[in-house]
Point group: C2
Chain length 455, copies 2
């Protein structure tokens, strides 16, 4: 599968110079990051974006590993044959008009499968968005080049998404909101040949992937899928579409997927150590945290210390944690003594640690710093939940890299909930995540992620 | 209580010209929106922000309704006495250092209560953020004047929040992210005199308030509170802090609140028609939708039509709706026929309506437009759930005001889930909400809100 992820030479069949068209976005994305040679193919152009354009893939002079195809569906089978004849190892077919459109499309897709088997060429898609690799800047996709504006936020979560339109929208949404950095986002479309198992197997072996999030409606080869999950040393988060009766009917008409019995699926996933999510955002939230804290067998009894600037937020966090099977850690006498050093006398510290009086007395830097240090040393604490108001004094003065380092040394996952002004908050989230602390704008999201990591 | 919300003349006791101090923020906020006269009071200044500054409240020449007090706690009782002597009707004490700090503070607070009763002056606070009225631009609070940058998003949800720090952070977060417009946000602090019942009663009678969201740890007068909720013609959403054992202990140490038994509270709230939320954001999400669709006795059986650009999003929405007691509407034959007019032949429409093929065939404007029209006319549909990808063709071309109007005529609440690029998405959310459609960036949020409205 390396030729899909790290191809030596990429041909774009159906390239165009018309900036409003999909065939242009594919070329444009390639020119913005991919380090190898790009060969636009279209008989109507001599050059596109300053590169020579070839009338057919057969005229491309150099070796090419991968062809990205965006031409009308009816022309695709012949072009795939040409690619195979040309020694190309993989094609990504981003055109639609196959199994999803009924009889004629199903026939076309079957033809593709046959060509793939006969000619030993791998087919990714059709009807997909292809691949966005934010770490290596390999964007093999017609996703809007506007996705580069936010710098293709790098991370170590890789995604496998069955839905083309959604994968594009979701990526743009995540990148631009700074929700999460990604490693590779793989939109696998109709899965004529390459399926979620092929991609999952590759990502399990990929050193740039720390956790995998999958959206699937149906898994073609359930046995292989579960075996891959079982063997994986990496966290895997799955959002399964079609769990309700109505959802299952919709999945059938969306991708002709047999959704399967929800209880059976849920049990099977749990047995192989997969965490289940219930929506796209939650899948991203949990995967982000698990990629940062990947230990599969966490020796945890879910005891959390909360450091907050707001008594109310501490209380609501405690209530929500209780709903998710997490609990407040009992702080040791030693920890309480250490906390007292930054607290005013009238306020006896307890968990949740409402730091505001300590911030007023000792400053945010010292109050948060001493509290993190003491709590990291407490054997009765499994994880640390930090609250910040960004823009206030507490948010501005704290030393996040020190917290990250201290918690890492102590082997305790640390999670942040932050709220505040939009621009400052986004910058803070991107920065903390770069340092390796999963950060969220909402208490509930942190608790979902924490429950995944401490399970 | 009118003198707190619409005072004729406001004195700021503890005003300062030092831009880094809280006493400056209070004055600055007043100069930015409040239409009446402002009287800074501080013996150290002759003028602040171009206004004459008075050495004491007794020297203020004109009638004053409200005094905002921010001076050290020990000085507060005498100042409140002066205010009462001066004919001032209400004081908002934003200084901290009262019941929340132990014995000495408790004594000070008791002194305040006594003065309030004797002198018949109402006391709001102490230890609070005061009031932010985004509609009338009356910001009687030391909340950071940066809150004005985003134009103090107007709406018709009013909030009552017991937690000072959180109310400030939450407001700034909500305003700047465009999550929700507000009418009045009331931070009531230690509730020495004015409590949640006083404020709730006022807001129930306030024509600029469409729904009320409350965060409370304990209610001083449970009977009055429940009676107010029962009589209210407006939706009320309550987030109760301290529902878990750990949360209840934390509430005790936060505001000395007796949290009470969760099942009893939950049952009582449900009986008087209050919707319960489990976090701050969800409280805002539900309140926003209920303020737009306030009918208390919704004649609904929870049948929802989903119009989506993504099959996957339709499926996941269906699954999540099923978890919340909502269901897919069975579309009538007439509706299906109407939908067929915009769909390609190979795609038989069903609910969830995956519009992508229709968008490709008929354009986003027509596909969404005809679908909304047909579904609004379908007696088997109680509510409409629209999905948009903002930045894509579907998001850009649709006629939201037409949808709002059509749905309103049909008496069907309409809800939007939108994802996309950050700036465009925020602008879209602010605009749709101005038109009267509750919009969210996540499927789960819409479903929470929908469950509140269709309950």
């Amino acid at each position: 599968m390396d030729f899909f992820f790290k191809p030596k030479g990429v041909a774009v069949i159906g390239a165009t110079g018309n900036k409003n068209k999909v065939g242009y976005s594919i070329v444009k994305n390639l020119t913005m990051g991919y380090k190898g040679e790009v060969y636009p193919v279209n008989p109507k152009y001599d050059e596109i974006e300053g590169m020579p354009c070839y009338p057919s893939v057969e005229e491309v002079p150099d070796p090419v590993d991968l062809a990205i195809i965006f031409v009308p569906a009816s022309k695709v089978p012949d072009i795939v044959k040409q690619c195979a004849g040309r020694g190309i190892k993989g094609v990504m077919i981003q055109s639609a008009g196959f199994a999803e459109v009924g009889k004629r499309g199903i026939a076309l897709q079957e033809e593709l499968v046959q060509i793939a088997r006969e000619k030993r060429i791998r087919v990714w898609g059709p009807n997909c968005m292809g691949l966005v690799d934010a770490v290596n800047k390999n964007v093999f996709s017609f996703v809007s080049p506007s996705i580069w504006d936010d710098g293709l936020l790098e991370g170590n979560v890789s995604l496998i998404v069955q839905s083309g339109l959604l994968s594009a929208g979701f990526l743009i949404d995540m990148m631009s909101h700074g929700t999460m950095g990604i490693s590779k986002a793989c939109s696998i479309g109709n899965k004529a040949d390459v399926d979620e198992c092929d991609v999952l197997e590759y990502l399990i072996g990929d050193p740039q992937t720390g956790a995998v999030g999958l959206y699937v409606e149906a898994v073609a080869n359930g046995k292989r899928f579960l075996e891959l999950c079982r063997q994986a040393e990496k966290p895997i988060v799955v959002l399964k579409g079609g769990k309700s009766a109505g959802g299952a009917r919709a999945a059938m008409s969306h991708t002709a997927s047999m959704a399967g019995n929800v209880h059976v699926i849920r049990g099977a996933l749990r047995q192989v150590g997969v965490v289940e999510a219930h929506d796209f955002q939650q899948m991203a939230d949990i995967a982000k945290a698990m990629a940062m804290y990947p230990a599969k067998e966490a020796q945890s009894s879910g005891r959390v210390a909360i450091l907050t600037f707001s008594g109310a937020a501490g209380i609501v966090s405690t209530d929500m944690m209780s709903d998710r099977g997490l609990k407040l850690a009992e702080l040791s006498g030693k920890t309480i003594e250490a906390l007292k050093a930054v607290f005013p006398e009238w306020m006896p510290p307890s968990n949740p640690v409402d730091l505001w009086p300590a911030i007023e007395r000792s400053g945010a830097q010292r109050a948060y710093g001493e509290a993190v240090k003491a709590i990291c040393a407490d054997p009765g604490v499994d994880a640390i939940f930090l609250h910040f108001f960004i823009g206030g004094v507490a948010g501005r003065q704290v030393d996040i890299p020190y917290f990250a380092q201290t918690a890492k040394k102590a082997g305790k996952p640390i999670f942040i909930w932050a709220l505040g002004k939009r621009e400052e908050l986004r910058a803070f989230m991107v920065e903390t995540q770069r340092i390796g602390i999963p950060t969220y704008r909402e208490i509930g999201r942190v608790i979902d992620a924490m429950a995944g990591v401490l399970r």
